[in-house]
Amino acid sequence: MHEFLIFTISGLATAGIYAITASGLTLTYTTTGIFNWSHGAIGMIAAFAYWQMRVGWGWPTVASILICLFVLAPLLGIAMEAGVMRRLEGTSEASKLVVTLALGLSFLGIAQWVWNPTTYRTIPPLFLGHTLVLGPVRISYNDLTVLIVALVVAIGLRLLLYRTRLGVTMRATVDDRTLTALNGSSSVANARAAWVIGCVLAALAGILVAPTLTLSATALTLLIVSAYAASVIGRLRSIPMTFVGALILGLAVSYSVAYLPQNPYVQGFGGAVPAVVLFIALLALPQSRLRGHRLLRSRELALRPSWRGTATFSVCVIAGTVMLAMVVSSSDLFSLNRVWGLAIIGLSLIPLVGFAGRLSLCQMTFAGIGAAVVGHLGAHGNPLSLLAAAGVCAIVGLLVALPALRLSGIYFALSTAAFAVAMDAWVFPLPPFDLFGHQFAPFGSGSLVFSPFRVGGAALTGKEAQFIAGSVVFALLCLIVVAVRRSGFGQRLMALKDSPAACATLGMNARASTLAVFALSAALAGIGGGLYGESLGSAAPDVFQFFTGLSILLVMVVVGISSVGAGVACGLFLGGPTLANFFPSLSQLTSVLVGAAGTGVGTTPNGTIPSGLRPVWSSVVKRRWLLGAFVVVVVGVWALRLSGVIDNWTMTWIDLAAVIGMPGVAYTVDYRAGTAPPAFGLPDRRMVVVGEANTGPRTGAPVETPAGDTANAVVVPAGSPGHGT
């Protein structure tokens, strides 16, 4: 009984923190329609800022807390509203998701940049050393504070929403967003107030949770992400239900610590409890209504790739890899090897996100499963283990997607996130167990060792061979992805993304197609994971964690989620010689940059390749002599490097100059001929709707632009003056 009381109190304290952060999340969602994936990261930033003032600079506790809560957090809220969130008004749910995720990742990167993650930091609990003795139990003043603060927040929100004018209009938005906008209540003021309150609550939770664990940016973010389960229990609408959800969550976590048997197989489950609660809460949600226009709308370019272009691309990838393999030193090649695994994991997102418009946050988890399969089955270097990895991942993908299918948009994404976090916390670190007489462990006892593949009787031990083999696998999978895109199935997926409602009325079973594409994506990710593990030589579950997957998703979206070329960019950027190699002191630059680029997705949904690179380069490709010149330069420089005349750096700079310079030459030629502006862009049949993209965000006016209005929007061929560049 005594034990039970202790855990109940500890669970209540945890619940208090969850309630505070989750109610902030719910409030911002209901008022602005944006599910803020960076909510956890805001709390994390606040915790670090609090540490900086309280411990780093030794300021008084009260002053530090007040500055964090009532100066920094509101400022952040106002800045976020004005700088990022306001522009999301009227964009697709997917854009909102990607942008807020990117924002969170930026916060994470910034925190790790400012506060060196290899330094040990702790924050002393509030009222250290004071405990309240209540009969048999003792409650620390810190826990007591948390409980009181949670209560105050509950009462405060109640008063705000029911007793103030601001609150009443905010509640009205909850019931009907468009209606409130039409009635003319200032939605900007409402939104700003919501973001400020949301940030303050996130910060409050961050500050309160900080003393219970070592300050670590990722751990803090994840811990607060757990609170999302409470919001989902509140169906993202009801604040009282959110508090109930937090209570369930906090007690579940606490009792799982107390009463789960001390067994290594079950222990890890404790860490997965919030994710499991989230998953169950999602499954209990009512079926989402079938509506059109839910996902990335038709501002995007979605050209059907040609076989000829794809074949050329594949050949270039392999040729470039061979050339690179011959000039790079072996230790550089060891790290470059990672490129293809990551590229394939990036590629795996294309059918699911790019074609079908479904967002998965667990692609890295499938990669981890694939790696585990390859590590176990490929012990003798059998490359067929990659196919087994694909098969296993496809099956797991089906099992994950099946219950989640009925969910749409953010709920689907949340369920994949819950799956990823649960796998990270529980399944991947499982110690070995016996299954049907075989000893089995996802990652052995901590790390899987991969043996090089054997092809045709010879092991691919050489780094060069592995590197080139990776590019061949990537090129093959690119062909598969393009084949899917060109097939009837691919077209149906595109159609499904454009209008799920129309698909249903045409007799398409959206669930079956979504299941199929989810399984396909999982299978591709599994192959990528296997190859990634292979290139690392040995891999721990840590390599496949949730946050890494987010970076991949963001890079893919930024570069162009429907172009196979984005896979290469993803691999090179995340696995290749990164910025961190050039600026060792700025090791967080990569994630900050990815995040910063991701926050721009709301306004440029197509990505760099379709809207930047491809139009620019198409004018080069059109001119065979120019293309020839480019090939001559690249091959020539490479030959010079091989013969030792120049070094790698010179080669890199010349190649880079050629890549940038050639389109310039093409443009100059066009300009002379007087055809520059119209020709300098997309082919005529690719049209871009200008009006819709630009008017909505600026005026902040009604959310949804009916498709029927396309007639009123300005339709111009892309590449007309002022647009092509």
């Binding site: 009325t505 007799g507 396309t710």
Partner: protein, 247 residues
């Protein structure tokens, strides 16, 4: 047999959007469904299609009760519809829109007379006069043409009953004329067409029967001339029509 709707009621919150609505759209004829904005026409379509669950009432297609069936199952039984707000596949071309629709309608294992989706698309392009815009992305089309494409897309799956939600809005008179002849053709082929439309000229021109919906109730049922002459209908709807634009 066609489509039979019996005693359908839908509530939003405390508000009754439809109360005990019954109507019939027989095979081989065009039935008009008119009423002021907010009368519940689109809601009724959603109920028929399975996208909105009613609190009571039944929907029958060729005598079969559709209760509990999901939209795509209903579509496969022969229900088709277009949308008031266009729901084109914006990233695909017109040709692709029609072809992909044709491929969705074909059940891989049960059809014997499978026609290649491309061929279906080709004949529809021809039939609807869309050949000149075949390679244009659907989201770049003017609304009027878009409505034709949506009709074509619905026809591609060869439905028995077609629900058309303001198909003529945004069309110029030339397009409307073509549209009317296409509709008559469909009825001649034996389809049951339920037409929601504000263009009275079109409604009166093609419909054999007209149903007037007001505040979620059936106000009147009869042939076009009778509707025009009914004083209640004039009071509720037609009189105010001059000011109405779209829904």
């Amino acid at each position: 047999m066609g489509l039979e709707v019996t005693d359908i009621s839908v509530h939003f919150g405390g508000l009754a959007a439809l109360s005990d609505v019954s109507l019939e759209a027989p095979d081989g004829s065009i039935t008009g469904l008119i009423g002021p904005n907010g009368a519940g026409k689109t809601t009724l379509f959603n109920v028929i299609m399975g996208m909105q669950r009613p609190v009571g009432g039944t929907v029958r297609l060729s005598g079969r009760d559709l209760r509990g069936l999901s939209p795509h199952r209903r579509a496969r039984l022969g229900l088709g519809r277009t949308f008031q707000r266009l729901e084109l596949f914006g990233t695909l071309t017109v040709r692709e829109n029609l072809a992909v629709a044709a491929s969705m309608g074909q059940r891989r294992f049960s059809r014997t007379d499978t026609v290649h989706p491309q061929a279906v698309a080709e004949s529809l392009l021809d039939h609807l006069g869309l050949a000149s815009v075949a390679e244009v992305r659907a989201d770049a089309l003017p609304t009027g043409t878009g409505r034709l494409v949506e009709l074509g897309r619905a026809m591609a799956v060869k439905p028995k009953v077609l629900l058309l939600d303001e198909p003529a809005s945004g069309q110029d008179s030339e397009e409307t004329t073509r549209f009317a002849s296409v509709l008559r053709g469909l009825a001649d082929d034996g389809l049951a067409v339920l037409l929601v439309e504000h263009d009275m000229e079109l409604v009166m021109g093609v419909c054999r029967q007209v149903i007037v919906l007001d505040y979620g109730r059936v106000l009147f049922t009869g042939d076009p001339t009778a509707v025009q002459q009914d004083p209640d209908v004039q009071q509720a709807y037609l009189g105010s029509l001059s000011g109405a634009t779209d829904g």
